[in-house]
């Protein structure tokens, strides 16, 4: 909460010694994470490595057993109220039959700063239009969301965070079910957002897009196994720790099937 005067701006994400347990299962063990403004960070790990739990903690949806989470040098609750955080759900987490149009969904990014009835004024509708323009979905704005392709669906949610003017974007498996060309479009879009000083945290178990997109990478398996430049993090030895021994690679010590992870 207190940044010494004259130093760099408060980190976007400041997680310290975070420990989360679900009953007997240790989901996160003494996790630390530091993310500066204007960075794209890939959060890499297998299913069950704690990526979702870390996201859930960043959104203030659970109380950790130990440790602290701060966003923008303040509490998660304050950052939420200020509309600084946006979340893009996984494709499986969305009801694609829901009767909302593309522009309805983008407009939902603005609700935090609208009046009780959340009525969009002219300026708000302009913000929705701009966001749709940026992600290239203006012509599909009236479509029901289920009528879009996998990549277009993802871009709707990116547009929602643009309309919201969020400073931290949490993207949960953004490249699942997305074809290569859409992935390129999204990568360019996210980099443009990064260049405006926004920060992006991308959770993924798909390594292919990471070096191209991310400025830094975090390898997670209950603990932070490595954090740094993607080329340093995505080494065979590290990946073996996080994903288990790869074929033709014999790294010692990894026990990926045990719920408590690597020793």
């Amino acid at each position: 909460m207190t940044t010494p005067p004259g130093t760099a701006p408060a980190p976007v994400v400041d997680v310290r010694h975070l420990t989360v347990r679900y009953g007997d299962v240790l989901a996160l063990d003494d996790v630390g994470l530091h993310l500066a403004p204007g960075r794209i960070c890939g959060l890499i790990g297998v299913n069950g490595s704690g990526k979702s739990t870390l996201f859930t903690s960043l959104m203030g949806l659970l109380t950790p057993q130990a440790g602290s989470v701060e966003l923008f040098g303040t509490s998660v609750a304050r950052a939420r109220k200020d509309g600084l955080v946006a979340y893009m759900p996984q494709a499986e987490g969305v009801d694609w039959t829901f009767p909302v149009s593309v522009s309805d969904v983008v407009g939902m990014g603005l609700y935090g700063r609208l009046g009780t009835a959340r009525r969009l004024r002219a300026a708000d509708r302009a913000a929705v239009d701009d966001a749709l323009e940026r992600v290239g979905l203006s012509s599909l704005r009236r479509r029901q969301i289920g009528q879009l392709s996998g990549g277009q669906r993802k871009r709707v949610f990116i547009a929602r965070s643009i309309a919201q003017d969020a400073r931290l974007l949490l993207l949960d498996e953004p490249f699942a079910g997305v074809d290569r060309s859409s992935e390129h479009t999204m990568t360019a879009l996210l980099k443009a957002l990064r260049d405006e000083g926004r920060s992006v945290l991308v959770s993924t178990h798909d390594l292919a897009g990471v070096p191209d997109l991310c400025d830094e990478a975090v390898l997670l398996h209950q603990r932070v196994l490595a954090h740094g430049d993607p080329s340093e993090v995505l080494t065979h030895a590290n990946l073996a720790l996080a994903f288990g021994p790869l074929p033709a690679d014999l790294s010692p010590g990894a026990a990926p099937s045990s719920p408590n992870g690597a020793p």
């Binding site: 939420r80 200020d82 494709a91 694609w96 829901f98 149009s101 919201q164 498996e173 699942a176 079910g177």
Partner: protein, 318 residues
């Protein structure tokens, strides 16, 4: 018979005019609420709350207080009890709902049977809309207007809650409050609907209009309008059917709503079942392809282990 005379004849009876007013008002409120209820995956919750109010109604009759107070108290109590048991056990939501509402319903039956002379069970269970007093009409109109006003003012928040609860939380909305609000309004709507069709059939008014509108609508506001228009038509048709065919009013109204649903299911939109069948016949479908033109195809999931059905999981996050 002259059409005008056909329409006007029942209205010369005060009890039928009152029945019409109560039924249409209750049906409109229930139809609006039903749009959120089915999108939240809370249909069973509607069933539960409507049954669980029986002991409240019975006690209110015995104590001589307005039955709406007893019904509302037990409706809220049932919701709270379901929430409590859900959060303190590992049972799934539908299981807890089943246990709680049947237990409360049985308690209500026991109370009624212990005091047989005071209460007409059939009227509570199946409604007594032809016997409502002017005071009952006002009660329904006021409670209905209150419920409707809150629903409409908060409609965008409630829609966001149903569509993307996590986003609602992340942008600073109070999702617990919104869930509780929707459940409280559900209890109020049940109280309003009881007068018209009774405990057993009120759940139809809470589910069928939303379900019908969902098949037709591509936007939420249109879904609301369709649900209201169709439910008003079904309610009026039901009252007239009840008068001319001499059948139970509650049953006639609910039957008309079910008929509207059936028609929409068969011929509504391009995805009506009859049109689909016709397309299949006219187009020779090459064998081996999965002929599923429903347009609801889920995105290919990237996670192999977890393609579980999402709709059922929604209440569990609540």
């Amino acid at each position: 018979m002259d059409l005008l005379a056909f329409l006007l004849e029942p209205l010369q009876y005060g009890f039928l005019t009152r029945a019409l007013a109560v039924t249409v008002a209750a049906a409109v409120v229930a139809a609006v609420l039903s749009c959120w209820l089915i999108l939240m995956g809370w249909s069973l919750m509607g069933d539960a709350v409507s049954h669980a109010v029986l002991p409240g109604v019975a006690l209110a009759y015995i104590l001589g207080i307005p039955f709406a107070i007893g019904a509302f108290a037990f409706g809220i109590g049932a919701v709270a009890l379901i929430g409590l048991v859900r959060s303190t056990t590992k049972l799934k939501a539908d299981t807890v709902i089943g246990v709680v509402f049947t237990g409360l319903f049985a308690a209500g039956l026991a109370i009624v049977s212990a005091t047989p002379s005071q209460i007409d069970l059939m009227h509570i269970l199946f409604g007594n809309v032809l016997g409502v007093s002017a005071g009952d009409v006002w009660q329904v109109l006021i409670l209905g207007a209150l419920t409707l006003a809150i629903l409409l003012v908060k409609r965008r928040d409630l829609t966001l809650l149903a569509f993307d609860r996590t986003h609602a939380h992340v942008i600073g909305l109070n999702t617990r409050f919104l869930s509780a609000l929707l459940l409280g309004l559900l209890a109020l709507t049940v109280v309003v609907g009881l007068q018209a069709v009774g405990i057993i059939l009120v759940v139809a008014m809470l589910i069928t209009p939303g379900a019908t509108a969902f098949l037709l609508a591509r936007s939420f506001d249109r879904m609301l309008v369709i649900a209201v228009v169709l439910t008003v038509a079904a309610s009026v048709a039901g009252i007239y059917a009840s008068y001319y065919l001499d059948i139970s009013t509650g049953a006639a109204v609910v039957l008309c709503q079910a008929l509207v649903f059936a028609v929409v299911y068969l011929v509504g939109r391009p995805d009506g079942v009859l049109w689909q069948a016709r397309r299949r016949r006219t187009k020779a479908v090459p064998s081996g392809t999965q002929g599923a033109p429903s347009g609801t195809q889920g995105a290919p999931s990237g996670t192999p282990g977890a393609p579980s059905g999402t709709p059922g999981a929604r209440l569990r996050d609540a």
